[in-house]
């Protein structure tokens, strides 16, 4: 049985299996706009392998974390659409 950990996405507690990426946790919440482009357009994961930089979110108050390359840790605070 995989361990269950809790993170928060935009202030809402979310339970995920350990080993889940931040991108998967955000998608699990039904969110598709991970961030806004410079001109305000919604952006989300495209390549899923850390190359395109489209899936960036704020993790523990630090902007521009690549959500597809970051694993959830207990208590992590994830903020999207900034």
């Amino acid at each position: 049985m995989p361990e269950i950990i809790h993170v928060s996405v935009n202030g809402i507690a979310v339970a995920v299996e350990s080993g889940t990426t931040v991108a998967a946790a955000v998608l699990q919440c039904g969110i598709s706009s991970f961030r806004r482009s410079v001109t305000g357009e919604p952006r989300g994961p495209l390549c899923g392998m850390g190359i395109c930089f489209e899936c960036r979110v704020t993790v523990d108050r630090l902007a521009h974390a690549k959500s597809c390359q970051t694993l959830c840790t207990p208590g992590m605070e994830i903020t999207t659409d900034e």
């Binding site: 410079v38 630090l62 902007a63 521009h64």
Partner: protein
């Protein structure tokens, strides 16, 4: 019909572009000759810090005069020039540097430059992301920040609107009376101005200008992290060293929320490739002062070449060897600031106007005069 110009300026960096505009506004018939894009050399590589400096009385006069010209121009600058009155904070890490802060404060305030000494608590409030334990700082609120390549482009475009001609081509030889272009043509002009920065000795052999290489790093967007241009006072020690490579803490907030991280100085490094040891040293120094920078994402790193003279002052005026070949180069790390003042002093000499500040310290002949009287 072949055109003849009053002034042909070689190099459309920020200095050449500013000189072209000033010439055109003085109703001189001016050509700017550029082999690449406007503002694409040291101008594009520079930080864009408009700063009053106090290394010498002459350096102060030119930087302060130029800064006031920028501040007058600010309402006319288009948005893409990104002019922001950020102010500079000179950061003191120990008591020695704090006494330098007090000296700098006396120097500036006695010459009419607003400045304010910050204690540790005031510094923390001004820039909360600096590490604890710093002793204090000097805030100079009239310093500002611009985006140099767009500023150069704007100056060049305005010059053209005032009648200047922009000629695309690589100047290969300067003569009193003409500039030879690589394609075999020549631009005929009464005066020729070499404004090619660190490359000036290639066109005017014998100039005492050395390339001083610098690296910069820019981060992704972290709005609100940094508010002022921050420079360590130790910068003065490292910037003055003429022998060794040096790195100093020097960071700048961009209008985009990005943070520009500098700065390095190297003599004898002629290649533009990034030197990773230097970048590592520069980033380590930045993280010493602002530890949270270490977790941020950098998006780009580049190099550029400052045009350094032996006495740290630019060369503005007729060359020693040929009175028809003039110089506007040797600005080292202050070319963005002093471009506007340089243009005024150059054109004052061309048209015989009285200058707002004494021009003698910047005349190219100063070195040879010293030699004669030595």
């Amino acid at each position: 019909m072949r055109q003849t110009f009053d002034v042909a300026i070689v190099g459309a960096g920020i200095v050449g572009a500013a000189c072209a505009l000033e010439c055109a506004q003085a109703e001189l018939k001016v050509a700017i000759i550029e082999s690449s894009i406007v503002g694409g050399g040291a101008t594009a590589a520079a930080m864009g810090h408009i700063v009053a400096m106090d290394d010498s009385e002459a350096q102060f006069s030119l930087t302060r005069f130029s800064q006031q010209l920028w501040n007058t121009l600010r309402t006319e600058l288009p948005r893409e020039v990104e002019f922001e009155l950020t102010g500079t904070i000179w950061v003191a890490a120990d008591e020695d540097e704090m006494s330098a802060v007090r000296n700098k404060n006396r120097y500036f305030t006695s010459r009419g430059v607003p400045a304010e000494v910050l204690d540790a608590a005031a510094l923390k409030q001004a820039e909360p992301n600096l590490r604890p334990g710093l002793v204090g700082a000097l805030l100079v609120p009239e310093d500002s920040v611009i985006y140099p390549p767009t500023a150069a482009r704007w100056l060049a475009e305005r010059a053209q609107q005032c009648g200047a001609s922009l000629v695309r081509g690589k100047a290969i030889r300067l003569r009193g009376g003409s500039v030879e272009i690589a394609d075999g043509t020549a631009i005929s002009s009464s005066l020729v101005v070499n404004a090619t920065g660190a490359w000036a000795p290639e066109l005017t052999p014998g100039l005492e200008i050395r390339k001083r290489k610098g690296h910069l790093v820019i981060t992704d967007r972290y709005s609100g992290f940094l508010r002022h241009q921050l420079v360590e006072l130790g910068y003065l020690k490292s910037a003055h060293s003429v022998t060794s490579d040096s790195c100093a803490f020097n960071v700048q907030p961009r209008a985009t929320g990005q943070i520009l991280i500098g700065s390095s100085r190297q003599y004898g490094a002629e290649h533009s490739a990034i030197d990773h040891k230097i970048v590592a040293g520069m980033l380590a120094r930045a993280c010493e002062y602002m530890p949270a920078l270490g977790k941020m994402a950098a998006v780009r790193c580049w190099t550029g070449f400052r045009a350094a003279t032996p006495d740290k002052l630019p060369l503005i005026g007729p060359s020693v060897t040929d009175q028809k070949i003039w110089l506007a180069t040797g600005h080292e790390g202050l070319g963005i600031t002093t471009s506007l003042g340089t243009a005024k002093l150059l054109v004052d000499q061309i048209v015989g106007r009285r200058s707002a500040i004494p021009i003698e310290p910047y005349l190219p002949a100063r070195g040879s005069r010293e030699h004669v009287y030595a």
